[in-house]
């Protein structure tokens, strides 16, 4: 790219008044629910490429890195996007984006022009984005362990744990079916692992995903025939009428000339139902649903968020108890243990402080299950990850506290004939814990917020609940304000409580 073609203003550099105007404009847009009108087709043609957003983590057969060529990207959607772009006379340009955030990122407009990511053509999605004619027909497929010989449909799964992809048709279907314990995942791979590990009783997914995953997972089988058919379509920004028309023409042509069939056969996905693609007619334009105003309907949304907040609170409390106890033990080992144990404590503390919490969560939830057969529930894994991680910080807080107790205290205790451990228990620790208390309570509040990271492992805590409802309603700000309000109220109450405890400790020595 030559320097001249770069946008003249980088977002971070824009002058303050413009930035304020920008914020103001976004606020007005949000309040009025308006959409920016500007057709992307001219950009696509000028640029000479169609930028399509998808999440390569979505997996086979949609988009994936073949195991023998990890730098390549293949999949039926990759090939569909290529054929579509060719039909439009432009290059195909893949843009990686988190699955959960595809639709909001599309609306944001700067990263990609369309979404090609197995996005279902449903009223819910049509309410948020414009959608092309279908390019693929799929259906819902239940997957169960081969050991389960009885399940043939959702009705057999009341009271059972069913894994689904976040914000997918399967997700909505399972939620609407009373009595199912729905577990939400961010991708199409981990729920199969959890099903094999016994953390789930079934997975509800789209037929292509079932097709690929059953091939190399002999311990899983189809739980009955496919049902609830639906279609995938290209998602566009609303108002991109010209681009929509071009894409619709291109898809119709790809369906008619057999290109789609050739692609899908290569992935063993062709079925007679796919003939619909060539003959499809839009029955009626879907009524454009208004973006929900969740603040106005807070009575509906707040209880859901509050229930999730309870999960956040207990995960934090249990995690902190673990961190407080294990951290103290680590600090004592580090300060007073025999040399090899001391080294191990130092190594533990440095490793847990020096690696991301997110990585540790994946390691504990998925890694331990795969390598050691240790199948922790999502809640237990969350508590364990937070506890083990924060224990490293608490160990350092305690150590600082112990070292801040004057040396004369230990000598005075020893001079009374105490053993070292008695002196530690009766004289040093009571003083050092008072010194460490403020840092420990600060960490407790930090952990309360950090607990949002555990949303990556099928645990619906506050942030996850927000994410789910925000994707449902499209109202990131309204729900965000409610969620932030809950976080703030609880952490502020916790810090007031912590200060009260500190004051009491200063007043009352016992």
């Amino acid at each position: 790219m030559d320097a001249a073609s770069r946008p003249a203003q980088l977002p971070g550099r824009c002058p303050a008044p413009e930035r304020i105007r920008g914020v103001f404009l976004s606020l007005v847009l949000w309040l009025t629910g308006a959409t920016v009108l500007a057709d992307t087709w001219s950009d696509v043609r000028q640029r000479g490429s169609l930028r399509w957003g998808d999440d390569a983590e979505g997996g086979a057969p949609y988009i994936y890195h073949p195991p023998d060529q990890p730098s390549e990207l293949i999949g039926f959607e990759v090939e569909f996007a290529a054929a579509l772009s060719a039909k439009l006379g432009v290059r195909s340009e893949f843009v990686q984006n988190n699955w959960d955030l595809l639709i909001p990122s599309l609306a944001d407009g700067s990263h990609f022009d369309v979404i090609i990511a197995g996005l279902e053509r449903t009223p819910e999605n049509l309410a948020k984005v414009a959608m092309s004619r279908p390019y693929f027909v799929f259906a819902q497929q239940l997957v169960v362990p081969t050991a389960d010989t009885s399940t043939t449909g959702l009705a057999d799964l009341r009271g059972k744990r069913v894994g689904v992809l976040s914000a997918s048709s399967s997700h909505r279907l399972a939620e609407d079916f009373a009595g199912i314990d729905v577990r939400i995942y961010q991708d199409n791979v981990n729920y199969f692992s959890d099903l094999e590990l016994g953390r789930l009783d079934a997975v509800l997914t789209d037929t292509p995903i079932a097709q690929v995953n059953l091939a190399d997972r002999p311990r899983l089988r189809r739980g009955g025939p496919p049902f609830a058919p639906g279609t995938y379509a290209v998602a566009l920004r609303r108002g991109d009428e010209v681009l929509l028309q071009r894409i619709n023409e291109a898809i119709a042509s790809l369906a008619a000339d057999g290109t789609l069939e050739r692609i899908y056969r290569r992935y063993d996905l062709w079925s007679p139902e796919q003939h619909v693609l060539a003959t499809w007619q839009e029955a009626e334009r879907a009524a454009v649903r208004e973006q929900r105003r969740t603040l106005r309907e807070w009575r509906t949304y707040l209880p859901f968020l509050l229930r999730a907040a309870v999960t956040t609170i207990w995960v934090t409390c249990a995690g902190m108890v673990l961190a407080a106890v294990w951290g103290l033990l680590l600090a004592l080992i580090r300060l007073y243990g025999p040399t090899p144990a001391r080294w191990m404590a130092v190594a533990y503390i440095e490793v847990f402080r020096g690696t991301p919490l997110l990585l540790q969560i994946y390691f504990i939830y998925f890694g331990l299950a795969q390598q050691l057969g240790l199948r922790l529930s999502a809640g237990a894994a969350a508590v364990l990850s937070l506890g083990l991680n924060y224990a490293a910080n608490e160990a350092e807080n305690y150590r600082a506290g112990i070292q801040a107790v004057p040396r004369g205290q230990m000598e005075a205790a020893l001079a009374l004939g105490m053993s070292r451990s008695l002196a530690l228990r009766r004289v040093i620790l009571p003083q050092s814990l008072r010194i460490s208390l403020p840092s420990v309570t600060n960490d407790f509040i930090a952990m309360f917020k950090d607990s949002s990271i555990v949303s990556v492992i099928a645990l619906v805590e506050l942030t996850k609940a927000y994410q789910i409802r925000a994707i449902d309603t499209g109202d990131y700000i309204g729900l965000g304000l409610m969620t932030a309000g809950i976080y703030f109220t609880i952490s502020y109450a916790a810090s007031l409580g912590a200060r009260a405890i500190e004051r009491r400790m200063h007043r009352d020595p016992h």
């Binding site: 004369g408 000598e411 005075a412 001079a415 009374l416 105490m418 009766r426 020595p509």
Partner: protein, 246 residues
């Protein structure tokens, strides 16, 4: 009753104690004086093994501590239970009241019941004149009061010998007398004590014998009258004159 033979200690290449010999009968109070850096504190701390000397032997009655050998943790504890210590900076436990400080040893080292430990502690606080301060935290007491609590805390273990490291040095001059009074009474009651101090008035009040420690060795020793009023050696004379004019 106390016999110290050839106590020697180095810090790196610096000689702190150069073979100190000393003997003392039960019920006697001996005061060690001498210039700063003369090894007085180290000498005292070696006696209850808060520090270990390189060589030498210390005997308290039937208890023999050989500093060339490494003692077991149990031996160290037994020694310290029989030899109490009072520090220049008191080192009271700041999170416990005066009463709690005095109860701590009997209650948790000897395993006395709370009631027994408390009645013993109250008697001792009465002996140091602090009955009305039993419920106070160290931070609520004056320096002199804190040092008296520290003496009561050491006495609560019924030690055979009491070691005192500069017990009045951290106190304002007007508070020293209350501590001197307590120590004079203790000496009168026949407590066996070894004191390290710069406080020559205290030395005069309590000492049966004064030892002048200089350069890590005993330069001169004798009854307080002779050492403090009419020392034989030039350095002792210098020291006494300087301290008296401080």
């Amino acid at each position: 009753m106390i016999r110290i033979e050839g106590l020697t200690k180095h810090y790196g290449s610096t000689v702190v104690l150069q073979g100190i010999n000393h003997a003392q009968d039960r019920g006697q109070t001996v005061v060690f004086i001498g210039p700063s850096g003369g090894g007085k504190s180290t000498f005292l701390r070696c006696l209850n093994r808060l520090e270990t000397a390189d060589a030498g032997r210390v005997t308290f009655g039937d208890l023999v501590m050989d500093h060339t050998a490494i003692p077991s943790a149990r031996e160290e504890r037994l020694l310290r239970q029989r030899v109490g210590m009072v520090f220049q900076q008191f080192h009271l436990f700041p999170h416990r009241t005066a009463l709690g400080n005095v109860m701590e040893g009997p209650r948790h080292v000897f395993g006395l019941s709370a009631a027994e430990a408390e009645s013993r502690a109250r008697d001792l606080l009465a002996r140091v004149g602090l009955s009305d301060r039993a419920g106070h935290l160290p931070s609520q007491l004056s320096g002199g009061q804190q040092q008296r609590v520290a003496i009561a805390r050491a006495l609560a273990m019924h030690p055979e010998v009491l070691l005192l490291d500069e017990p009045t040095s951290a106190l304002d001059p007007e508070l020293r007398d209350e501590v001197r009074g307590v120590l004079r009474r203790l000496a009168g009651e026949g407590m066996t004590m070894i004191l390290v101090t710069h406080d020559l008035r205290l030395a005069r009040q309590v000492a049966d014998q004064v030892v002048f420690l200089d350069g890590g060795r005993v330069a001169e020793s004798g009854p307080p009258g002779r050492i403090l009023e009419n020392p034989e050696f030039e350095r002792t004379r210098d020291f006494v004159r300087r301290v008296l004019h401080d």
